[in-house]
Amino acid sequence: MAETLLFNALREAIDEEMGRDSTVFVLGEDVGHYGGSYKVTKDLYKKYGDLRVLDTPIAENSFTGMAVGAAMTGLRPIIEGMNMGFLLLAFNQIANNAGMLRYTSGGNYKIPMVIRGPGGVGRQLGAEHSQRLEAYFQAVPGLKIVACSTPYNAKGLLKSAIRDNNPVLFFEHVLLYNLKEDLPDHEYLVPLDKAEVVRRGKDVTILTYSRMRHHVTQAVKGLEKKGLDPEVIDLISLKPLDFETIGASIRKTHRVIVVEECMRTGGIGAEIIASINDRFFDELDAPVLRLSSQDIPTPYNGRLESLTIVQPRQIEEAVEKMVGLKV
């Protein structure tokens, strides 16, 4: 066991996969000599050379399309979005070519690529650097969308994403890179399509992902003191959703709260609620509740920013209200 920071867990995943498969390469802005904006690829160019850790010009749409072409012809690119928000400039290549080309080609090509990088609301980074693109991309067919939340799952998920034969959007969170955890010395993979049951409980199912998992964990401490027993599920896979794990939990608790960092309108929670209504409506004792970010550009001011995203206190209150402790 070795205590590992999350950004280093990601780095280890990339290093191990590049070591075992020479078709795996990294590309993006400042991934090489600079080592990546969050040091995820630090010094890898020294080991693998400039071609396998390719510093690209600032041309998101084109280098993303280039990765699609490389993937179609047998390589396994890992794109680092310096900040995931910049990939708005690559929306066309991600949606049309990474997402849909396998289908429109009638299975002629597969596109094994990973698009990873920091997303989410950081600390006063301003609206453009605080985006949650998972909500924008969830409607694109053919993409897998994954969000990591701990050093352990970050490493295992990234390795699986690199080995997957489909395009995977892999969301990290700017505020989680320095989380620490003991990681196994042996190699391990974490499946892309399985939600993680973070805490078993019976009163209510809390569905969350990425940094909000940690807000939920904080809220749970308070809830435990009040004698409540929530079940916490980290979705991990935002697309496709793991309805097996979600369904099993709902059949036990009959109550669901979604805690997300994306905005409310058209968010991941919106999709989850619709799907739960489709699949598990009869199991529900109460309408599914969602706690989301406000529908506004994330403000710079720290006080306004904290009002924009969901805080642990709000999660506690929502759970108490839902299980009837508070009316």
Partner: protein
């Protein structure tokens, strides 16, 4: 009608061709022309749908470039892709079946006219959005370099040809990819088919420097201007560029001056282009011109050429029969091909 650019004169004798080569080029151009004529017929008979962009008039470009490449090289097209696919070796029946939306189509009926693909023939697509194929082509070219240099595969000397129109050269992906191709010295040909129009937008109304080949120079890349109605001229330019790319000497931009003989798509009434302009370019029909050359040089007789035309007409007719008789995709497979099946 805007002032016509003077077409560069190509001295064919400088690279005289052998008979079988000449007939091969002729056959490929005839295939392109007859196939597209058949598409128009089938479209108006309600056999194919959507936006169908025909290639009539531009055949010398597809044939001149692709037939100067190896079968393991890569070809990347646009929405005007039928003839590039044919030159790349995709059988006419598989292209026609795709246009009919059939399971036997090269994209299994999921793609349609603007999304032709064939991994078997290294056809990277069929791209319906302007410019989006250029980065994909760049990726295939990068892959060749990567295999050769990072994976030490000496046999990885494949070249990629990327086709697009004049209008597309005003899109950022064009400039971004020229930069990266030159920066990394990638084995790629950027083939601009300058047919003077982007739907209804005249080229000189859309760009500050209408001579597209000149845009290569700022990237330190050779840019050549070619008479795109002369298959020999295009072939000679392509051969030089392919040779350079294969030798690791990097990309080339080839601007082919050409013209489309039909509207932008079969849905376009084609009312903007002047009669004079159309007639001037029709007089340069690349097929008629090459026919005359072959006869003049005694590389073929009238009978030889007719035999080729008859053979190709039969092939195109058969492609329709094949497409008509082919099954529709199975409704149970609606969700197939979203993800790789491993």
């Amino acid at each position: 009608m805007a002032q016509e650019r003077t077409l560069p004169v190509f001295q064919a004798s400088a690279s005289a061709i052998r008979q079988e080569e000449g007939l091969m080029l002729y056959e490929d151009m005839v295939l392109g022309r007859f196939f597209e004529d058949k598409c128009a017929e089938m479209y108006y008979r309600g056999k194919m749908f959507g936006f169908v962009h025909l290639y009539n008039g531009q055949e010398a470009v597809s044939t001149g470039v692709i037939k100067a490449m190896r079968s393991d090289d890569f070809v990347c097209s646009t929405y005007r892709d039928h003839v590039h696919a044919l030159s790349a070796g995709v059988p006419a029946k598989h292209v026609m079946a795709e246009l009919f939306g059939k399971e036997t189509g090269c994209s299994r009926g999921r793609g349609g006219s603007m999304h032709l693909f064939s991994a078997e023939h290294n056809l990277l697509g069929g791209f319906a959005f302007i410019g989006e194929g250029i980065p994909v082509a760049l990726g295939a070219a990068f892959q060749s370099k990567y295999r050769r240099e990072a994976m030490k595969d000496a046999s990885a000397d494949q070249v990629t040809a990327c086709f697009f129109g004049d209008g597309t050269t005003n899109n950022g992906q064009f400039f971004e990819c020229l930069n990266m191709a030159a920066l990394w010295n990638l084995p790629i040909l950027f083939v601009v088919e300058n047919n003077k129009w982007a739907i209804g937008m005249a080229h000189e109304r859309a760009t500050s420097q209408p001579e597209i080949y000149r845009k290569a120079s700022v990237f330190g890349m050779p840019g050549v201007e070619v008479d795109g109605m002369d298959v020999m001229a295009v072939r000679a330019a392509a051969q030089t560029a392919v040779e350079r790319a294969r030798a690791g000497e990097g990309p080339t931009l080839i601007e082919c001056l050409t013209y489309r003989f039909r509207g932008h798509s079969l849905a376009d009434p084609d009312e903007l282009r002047s009669k004079d302009e159309k007639e001037e370019w029709l007089a340069r029909d690349p097929l008629k011109r090459f026919e005359a050359y072959l006869l003049e040089q005694n590389l073929a007789s009238e009978a030889d050429l007719k035999a080729i035309r008859d053979k190709i007409q039969a092939e195109v007719d058969e492609s329709v029969t094949f497409a008509e008789q082919s099954p529709e995709p199975d409704a149970a497979e609606l969700y197939r091909y979203i993800f790789a099946e491993d």
